[in-house]
């Protein structure tokens, strides 16, 4: 069995990153232009990494499936980005951000990685500001902050309700500068369909040009995947329609370990589903919980309109259960509380799958104008989708799949177990444990891309990369595999569309591997997913040909991969006989319904190894060692 060496530097926690930076080998500035790096993905992690590599002098090939790098799904992040600046003088520090993140992750993340994340968080705000990211400001000209879930300090920086957009545009602009300078070559509308491994090292990728259908290989000295999460395995999620797991899944099949796939985040505040035709779910930012109060009627089946329900007959259940954090309890806890309320028949709106998020108290206190300044674009979006005005009636919200904490296993240097394959941002597993706190995804993506990988990749390259070229048999084989898979998908000509299969998979996942999981539900999923996969390869209908712009073919390849990933996710959830963060096994809960961890047996990262088609995965374990903090039961009461 391969060993999982996390390569965490020795020494005190606060000095580990400094020590690693001092020990890393460097590439001579004049030699950097002799190296080529492939970056797949152009979100916060991918764009910041690609532009940083270009600035350092490396040659960069950067790929994305969208029509321009500026579309990557980081753009949809609304609320903000955390940093330990302590501009509010409210007692924040690197240690506190580290501690909140570890605790928020329910003690299932690596101490050293999370500490580094907190450490570089301040550089990100400086960097983004210098780029011209228009963060919200106070009248005196300084940066403004707001609060987010799981923290008792105000450390979240924001640009209205579109912080992800502004940070991504900042990174995109830096990337475009490098494209103009010729250091980065950009390949939009190009999808990675396989990873090429030569003599144990990641050496390149095989792609499909989504406009012409041309299959082509690209070689490099290192491959960086920054391709986001796999939430669309549930079909309905807050992810973009195109968000997919194909890049990391293809790398997994080539030997990269997949860690903690069962850690999925269900976000508590999304607009409820309206019908079968629903194509995606829309998030309403967690920042709304700064000024919105969550409640349900106390009486089951209360059909009165919300303004007719008197104060005494409302249950502000988060404030009641968690008086300290109240409406800002972490996401996993808030989502489960909403589900419990709806399961008890207290839900509101069609089908009883919703709870109120009510701004009337804040509007009374601060005025509609102040609330509009803070959340105007979110209120407008809510009204566009639902036809209801949240200034007048409470929003109806319900939990939805939002983020995946699991991903490809990486060491402290963000390198997977395959030498030369680096994984950044949501695509890796490293920083959020079993639950991610709000405003930490943007922080991690940019930390990885601007301030970690530019250092660590040099160490790998400086140790020497053997010569190879795209005529190598491994490239030819991967190209042939990609082409034959496309031909097969197109030749089945069965009865059901790709979307039909994707929706079926989503139903299985949401019902059995969703917010609450049991041994029985997981075993059921493990029967149904392979059966659906078998049916897919026998009965899917993909129109058109491979040599053209063919959106159904694109989706077919992605859904085929989700049909494998969904199974692994279920296996991981089944082996983890505890509840932690976003992974809630109903068998393991405290008397008042909180997640019950089992630290004695499960304080490890589960790193799954692919062993072949329709064969069981091998489970490798990386023990999580806590030297600086005591494991304790999370309490937000």
């Amino acid at each position: 069995m391969p060993t999982l060496d996390s390569r965490i530097p020795s020494g005190p926690l606060a000095e580990k990153w400094t020590k690693r930076k001092a020990d890393l080998k460097l590439v001579n500035p004049a030699n950097k232009r002799k190296y080529t790096i492939i970056v797949v993905g152009t979100g916060l992690a991918g764009a910041s990494a690609a532009s940083s590599f270009g600035e350092l002098g490396y040659n960069v090939l950067n790929f994305c499936f969208q029509d321009t790098p500026r579309r990557a799904h980081s753009i949809a992040a609304q609320g903000g980005i955390n940093a330990a600046k302590s501009y509010q003088n409210d007692g924040d520090s690197v240690w506190r951000l580290f501690y909140d993140t570890i605790k928020g992750g329910d003690f299932r993340a690596r101490e050293a990685n999370v500490y580094r994340l907190a450490e570089v968080s301040n550089n990100i705000i400086d960097q983004a500001t210098a780029q011209g990211v228009p963060f919200a400001r106070e009248y005196g000209g300084t940066l403004a902050n707001r609060s987010f879930g799981g923290a008792l300090v105000s450390r979240t920086f924001y640009a209205r309700g579109q912080t992800g957009q502004q940070l991504l545009i900042g990174a995109y602009q830096s990337l475009m500068r490098q494209v103009e300078l010729g250091k980065v070559k950009m390949f939009p509308r190009t999808e990675m369909l396989d990873l090429v491994v030569i003599d144990g090292r990641a050496r390149g990728i095989v792609t499909r040009d989504l406009v012409t259908g041309k299959v082509q290989s690209y070689i490099a000295d290192a491959v960086v995947l920054a391709t986001g999460g796999y939430g669309n395995v549930y079909y309905l999620s807050t992810n973009a329609k195109g968000s997919n797991a194909t890049a990391i899944w293809r790398a997994h099949r080539k030997g990269a370990f997949f860690a903690n796939p069962c850690y999925t985040q269900i976000h508590p505040t999304c607009i409820p589903r309206a019908g079968d035709y629903q194509s995606k779910l829309t998030l309403m930012s967690e920042s709304l919980r700064n000024d919105g109060r969550i409640w349900v009627p106390k009486k089951a089946g209360d059909k009165r309109s919300p303004d007719q329900i008197p104060e005494a007959e409302r249950d502000y259940y988060l404030e009641r259960k968690y008086p300290t954090y109240g409406n800002l309890a972490p996401r996993d806890i808030s989502s489960r509380a909403a589900k419990q309320a709806c399961d008890a028949g207290l839900g509101v709106g069609p089908g009883g799958l919703g709870v109120y998020l009510d701004f009337s108290d804040s509007i009374k206190r601060l005025g509609a104008k102040a609330i509009g300044e803070r959340y105007g674009n979110l209120f407008d979006m809510y009204e566009r989708i639902t036809g209801e005005n949240p200034y007048q009636v409470p929003m109806r919200i319900y939990p939805a799949v939002h983020y995946t904490m699991g991903g490809l296993w990486v060491d402290y240097d963000l390198m997977s177990n395959l030498p030369g394959l680096f994984v950044l941002g949501e695509a890796n597993f490293s920083d959020h444990g079993a639950n991610r706190l709000g405003a930490s995804a943007l922080m991690q993506g940019l930390a990885d891309g601007y301030f970690v990988i530019p250092y660590t990749i040099g160490d790998y390259l400086a140790r020497g990369i053997p010569k190879a070229d795209v005529s190598h048999a491994e490239f030819k084989k991967a190209e042939a595999d990609v082409a034959s898979r496309e031909k097969k998908l197109l030749s089945i000509n069965g009865k059901h569309s790709v979307d039909w299969f994707h929706k079926k998979l989503g139903e299985i996942m949401w019902e059995n591997v969703g917010m609450a999981r049991t041994k029985e539900s997981l075993e059921k999923a493990l029967k149904e997913i392979p059966a659906l996969r078998e049916q897919f390869w026998r009965d899917v209908k993909v129109p058109g040909t491979e040599g053209e712009f063919n959106q159904e073919l694109e989706k077919a390849g992605r859904v085929a991969d989700f049909l494998e990933l969904g199974e692994l996710l279920s296996w991981d959830a089944l082996q983890r006989n505890e509840s932690c963060g976003g992974h809630f096994r109903s068998e393991y809960q405290t008397e008042d319904g909180e997640a019950q961890r089992n630290d004695a047996e499960y304080t490890y990262a589960a790193a799954w190894e692919w062993t072949g088609e329709n064969k069981p995965w091998t489970l490798n374990k990386e023990p999580l060692v806590f030297e600086n903090i005591h494991l304790q039961t999370r309490s937000y009461k």
């Binding site: 321009t68 830096s174 629903q278 058109g544």
Partner: protein, 257 residues
């Protein structure tokens, strides 16, 4: 409800293209416009016909990937709304809707309603950034920005790069897009050192890409789903003019007007 759709079908760049009529009787008022097309596509696939190609990604109105013309309006008739956020409750039973791609010389058609907007990226490449590398910036609060300037900069930065402004403009000008970026950066102290050169370079690239000049008609601002205002074009022209006075040689090509 029931709709008649006349949709532009074009196999590829070389194909002439034509409007094709579809009767759609499975439309719910709660659907988004793109979900309405998803359902139509499922019906086409079931019948063995080719589905309609159109771009979309986030479906939350922020990524800017979706966009086509509905009855002459880019993103449809609802103000401040991308077509992915447009809901069918704004239409009525029996309505006839004509769907066409955003048309401009600088936006070649890829297939049906999907177009190539990479010309917009190339305008940004010409100077839509602050020329700094990662690493070593000073503390963020050492750069003070007045709330008013900061808010106005954010208004300009809200552009999603969808290209609706170009589709709405009789001259197919991308001045609102270009002016938005020039204003976003030009309003901030961080963007000040390159303000004039940036305007020169971006305007020049805009013209090279085949976008038309601005004659201040204002259709772009009407169509913009993010509410960018014509003032940003005025700011672009002001910075461009300042640039021509400072860097005469580079300005030989003239502005967008």
């Amino acid at each position: 409800m029931r709709l008649t759709l006349e949709i532009w079908r074009q196999k590829g760049a070389e194909d002439a293209g034509r409007l094709v009529r579809y009767e759609h009787d499975e439309v719910s008022e709660h659907m988004s416009f793109l979900e309405m097309l998803d359902v139509l596509n499922q019906k086409l696939i079931a019948k063995g016909e080719e589905p309609i190609a159109f771009d979309s990604d986030c479906r939350e109105g922020i990524c800017g990937m979706c966009g086509f013309v509905v009855n002459g309006y880019p993103h449809g008739p609802q103000p401040l709304t991308t077509v992915c956020q447009l809901h069918m409750r704004h239409f009525h039973d029996g309505e006839v809707l004509r769907l066409e791609p955003f048309r401009a010389k600088a936006f070649p058609i890829i297939k049906d309603l999907a177009i190539d907007r990479s010309a917009l990226d190339r305008i940004i490449m010409a100077g839509g950034y602050v020329s700094i590398n990662a690493g070593g910036p000073r503390d963020a609060n050492s750069i003070l920005v007045g709330k008013k300037e900061s808010d106005l900069s954010m208004d300009a930065a809200a552009c999603i790069g969808c290209g609706a402004c170009v589709a709405a403009c009789p001259n197919a000008s991308a001045s609102l897009f270009t002016g938005g970026k020039i204003s976003h950066l030009g309003l901030l102290p961080q963007g000040e050192p390159e303000r004039k050169q940036r305007a020169l370079n971006m305007v020049e690239r805009h013209n090279e890409e085949g976008f038309g000049g601005c004659t201040v008609i204002g259709a772009c601002a009407e169509a913009c789903p993010k509410g960018l205002k014509l003032d940003f074009i005025a700011r672009m022209n002001k910075d461009y003019l300042a640039g021509t006075l400072t860097y005469r040689d580079a300005a030989a090509a003239g502005g967008t007007g």
